[in-house]
Amino acid sequence: MNMIEGRFSAKLSMAIGTICLFSLMFIIQSAYLRHMMIVLLMTITLAVSYRFITLSGQWTFAHYTMMGVGAYTSAILSTKMGYPVWMTWPTGIVITCITACLLGLLIVRTRHVYFFFATWAFAYVVEITWKKLWFPFGGFDGIRGIPRPGSWFNSEAHFYYLILAITLASLAVLYTLEKSRFGRTLMCINENEDLARSIGFNAFKFRMLAFVIGSAFSGLIGCFYAHYAGFIAPADFDWMLNWFIVIYLISGGTRTVLGPIIGTLIFVPVMQILAAYQNFISIGMGLYTIFIIMIASDGIEGLISRFRHPGEVGVSRALR
């Protein structure tokens, strides 16, 4: 009885929350705040899909780069060839998947820091390619005049509804995947790869799939971003941005889906406020990173769960 009630109230609160999120545009009228909300939702999807990759124990450093691959594909197809949006977005996602596959074939066998740095090298190479190739990437200036996704997209509110739908759908898909047999296998591979292989799981295939699926969602966000901003440049997908996503995850925690969401909700506004103090941002970010790794290694989520269940043994680290 209790359980049924609990499930019912969870569903009800989710429905109410969704309605609230959709009706938020009636309250928020300022264009800047609406833009902030869109950025927040984009970042939440990125962070949650990033967490999906980390389920298999790999911390990639090319998540923003994958987003850029999707964005550039969609932008080039719609500006230089004039394809409609319902064709460019799937193409963007497919190209992102192919890129992730090719990169994964090279480096999925590597572990820990090696994987991290190999994806970093990839991010660096791709960024230089965007900057240096005038055709078709437009060099440092990027690509201008990307059309809106449809003729009725004429205000931030419409984009907000679109990204909200994308975010909710992505969260649902990633959550279902994590709770399915596939997600459990990934966690098993992360915990003990030898054991997982001994009972017949192909660790390479699963790690690869996790990487490709996570990258596909970041490619989707890239497609959205290109058509929302109407202008993309290599600076939008700078490799430094990948650090922010790592910081969202380690400060929020990676135990459940809520961790990255909490981290993003706290950090994106803080970064916007701190943007006025450019000189201190790197020192502040560095000190914060050291602090969170040394003191609260499980993130805010871990702190909350330790507060709610004191004396629980075996506190896991956000970063494994």
Partner: protein, 284 residues
């Protein structure tokens, strides 16, 4: 032209190898990929600028003070920050990246955002046939060679060096034989940061001194350690030689941006063939 490229490759190799060897030693014994290692290199150059140009000391005393100060800073950081993180790969790496951001931020503020420079100590030019190269650049090669000989002598012939190698091979067994890992890690960190600072001190009169000057060297040192095998100093040296000559050739004949791409491609394909490094390393 070809000779010039060779000398330049040797020059780059010697710089990369000094930084990469220290990095490899710390990674081997503490199992922390210390991204802030490049910042010790940067601080070495900043120290020369501070003591030499701002306080007016001659070059050699300024250089010595700079190396000592950087080593002390590094040892302090090792005691406070790296000791609890020893053996944790990703947390150690991310924390060291945070440290690197902090150090870069302070130098950025001290420089008010502008790169600084230090005047050349040796102004003579070496001329062989039609080809000219500054002595300031050439002198680095024998100095770096001396440094490498010292490091290999230290690691193979002295008590501390042999203990560090034992720690790299198997820290559990080394502990059973009564070696103190804490002391060894501090010693390894002092050696490594001293070497990085030495490289920075040598390069201060040649390159622009700026907060992110460590990135270029660290990039190559990192590839060398990943591909050389964990704790394998000879493998690390081999990879630095490949990278140094490759960078020199490509920068001269194709373009400087392309050298980074080539290094990254070499790294990615190297990892694809041998995920644990091209040469045999210790088990992680």
């Amino acid at each position: 032209m070809f000779f010039q490229v060779l000398i330049n490759g040797l020059f780059l190799t010697s710089i990369f190898s000094i930084v990469a060897l220290g990095f490899a030693i710390v990674y081997g014994i503490a199992r922390i990929m210390n991204w802030a290692h490049g910042e010790f290199y940067m601080l070495g150059a900043v120290g020369v600028w501070l003591f030499g140009k701002q306080l007016g000391l001659p070059y050699i005393p300024a250089a010595l003070i700079s190396i000592v100060v950087v080593t002390l800073i590094a040892v302090g950081i090792e005691r406070a920050m790296f000791r609890p993180l020893r053996g944790l790969h990703l947390p150690g790496f991310v924390a060291s990246y945070g440290l690197s951001l902090v150090l870069q931020g302070f130098v950025f503020m001290a420089f008010r955002g502008h790169p600084e420079s230090f005047p050349k100590v040796i102004n003579d030019v070496l001329t062989i046939g039609t080809f000219n190269i500054g002595w300031q650049r050439v002198i680095i090669i024998p100095l770096a060679g001396l440094c490498l000989v010292f490091v290999f002598w230290f690691m193979n012939r002295t008590k501390y060096g042999i203990a560090i190698r034992a720690g790299i091979q198997d820290s559990q067994a080394a502990r059973l034989y009564g070696l103190r890992m804490n002391t060894l890690c501090t010693a390894a960190m002092a050696l490594a940061s001293g070497m990085a600072a030495f490289a920075g001190v040598m390069l201060a009169p040649l390159f622009a001194i700026q907060p992110d000057m460590g990135l270029f060297v660290m990039w190559n040192a990192w590839i060398a350690v990943c591909l050389g095998g964990r704790g394998n100093l000879r493998g690390c040296l081999m990879v630095t030689a490949i990278l140094g000559f490759m960078t020199s050739f490509i920068e001269t004949y194709i373009g400087s941006y392309f050298s980074l791409i080539a290094a990254a491609a070499f790294f990615l394909f190297g990892l694809a063939v041998r995920p644990r490094g091209l040469w045999k390393g210790m088990e992680a």
